[in-house]
Amino acid sequence: MEETNHIYSELIDKYKLEPKSLKRSKTLFEEGNAVDSIYYIEKGEVFILSDKLILWSARSHEFVGVSSFLSSESAYRFTAKVCSDSVVYKIPISIFKEELITNETFSKLVIQDFCKRIDAVTVRVKNRANKSSRNRLISLLVESSKLTKSNQVTYRLSEISSIIGVSSRRTKLILKELEEKKLIRYFNGGVEILDRRGLEIVGVNKF
């Protein structure tokens, strides 16, 4: 992790890139726009959406827009929207390409980031086919909480529904069931996990 941060800091210093603070719901780029930049997320979380479907979320020290740049199309394949208040760096395509070709460590990091992303999407597809909606929701809450090292998961109801792939009504029902078991507290704008271990156990067993 330290090596990763060091490489990104070097890149930022080398090209004198300016950070941008973005509030929740701000759009980084829209599907169909011409690809002109890659975004590096220093802090926060960004959703990648296809129509209204959340495909995945990019978190701290990850890139957004790379796959659109590498694909044969010249437009962004998806829309990127800020999920929680974030700090991002906009890297012009010319700089990103230059670093990819000349900086071996940097290209290695980008490749590793890609591999992680493919795995995350593949696992989601696998879970959609194999896991119940309840277990997918529990997994989402537990994983998000572990990644952010917090008991608060600041996804809205519509965002949770989109990620797990069920209706908002069904999502609300599951959240209510978990709340009745005193495992979570659902509030407007997020979920507070009261008993993470209990949630994990429930996710494995049926109730």
Partner: protein, 247 residues
């Protein structure tokens, strides 16, 4: 040129096989095929290979990476294990495709299990030699990133499909993809034999629903089925069904 049938016979007799070198390989479409000759020779040094019968495992999910695999001849499926022990097919690979590159590049254990779908010959390249070639060849590194980008695109499309399309639409799309990936054999059937369970895995549904949707496509005149063999009769109609905007 090493003939595939010869390799099968030698494997049966357990005679040590002469692994085809990369510069002597028949395949021309793989990502490594466009490398300059000296790099192909470097990769060929210490290269091994094995003959795998249909159903044999080439590598297991979560096993330590021991090298980069390249399919000299055959067809392979990559699967992940679900929580309930159910297999989930991630993708298929055919002659000339690489296996295990993501895990090698990502410096992690194998992310899926590779299983031979038919009798296959798979080459194994030393991982350190491959890494050295990438370091010396920025163009290869870039090409690999493009390959990863395509993988990501397919994974994302699969997620979109499973969220937005019906089982019938997904089945139609799956048949089109298999047709595109493997082509047709001499009889005009898709050149891969999959079980109904495997079709169910690809589409993300139960075997019963998969059978019903295949029967529905057959009744519609899009496909012909005989045992495990499927022939695409009306590609236009299949595309129409696969598209959420179509009929």
């Amino acid at each position: 040129m090493v003939k595939f049938e010869y390799l099968k016979i030698m494997a049966k007799k357990r005679i040590k096989l002469n692994v085809p070198r990369c510069d002597q390989c028949d395949n021309r479409d793989g990502i490594l095929c466009s490398l300059p000759m000296n790099y192909k020779e470097a990769i060929s040094e210490g290269k091994g290979g094995n003959f795998y019968r249909k159903g044999q495992i080439i590598f297991y999910e979560d096993n330590h990476v021991n090298g980069l695999y390249c399919i000299y001849k055959g067809k392979v499926k990559l699967t992940k294990l679900g929580e309930n022990g159910k297999e989930h097919i991630v993708r298929f690979a055919k002659t000339g495709d690489l296996l295990g590159y993501r895990s090698l590049l990502g410096n992690e254990a194998y992310k899926a299990t590779a299983v031979a779908v038919e009798d296959s010959y798979v080459c194994l390249m030393d991982k350190n030699k491959f890494r050295d070639v990438i370091i010396e060849n920025p163009k290869l590194s870039f090409n690999l990133m493009e390959l990863l980008s395509e993988d990501l695109k397919h994974a994302e499309q699969k997620l979109i499909n499973i969220s937005e399309k019906t089982v019938l639409e997904r089945m139609a799309e799956a048949i089109l993809l298999l047709d595109d990936c493997f082509g047709v054999d001499d009889d005009g059937n898709i050149d891969v034999n999959l079980t109904r369970s495997e079709y169910a895995d690809i589409v993300g549904t139960t075997i019963e629903t998969a059978i019903r949707s295949l029967s529905s496509l057959k009744e519609d005149g899009c496909i012909e089925m005989e045992g495990k063999k499927i022939m695409v009769k009306d590609k236009k109609r299949l595309i129409q069904i696969a598209s959420t905007l179509g009929g």
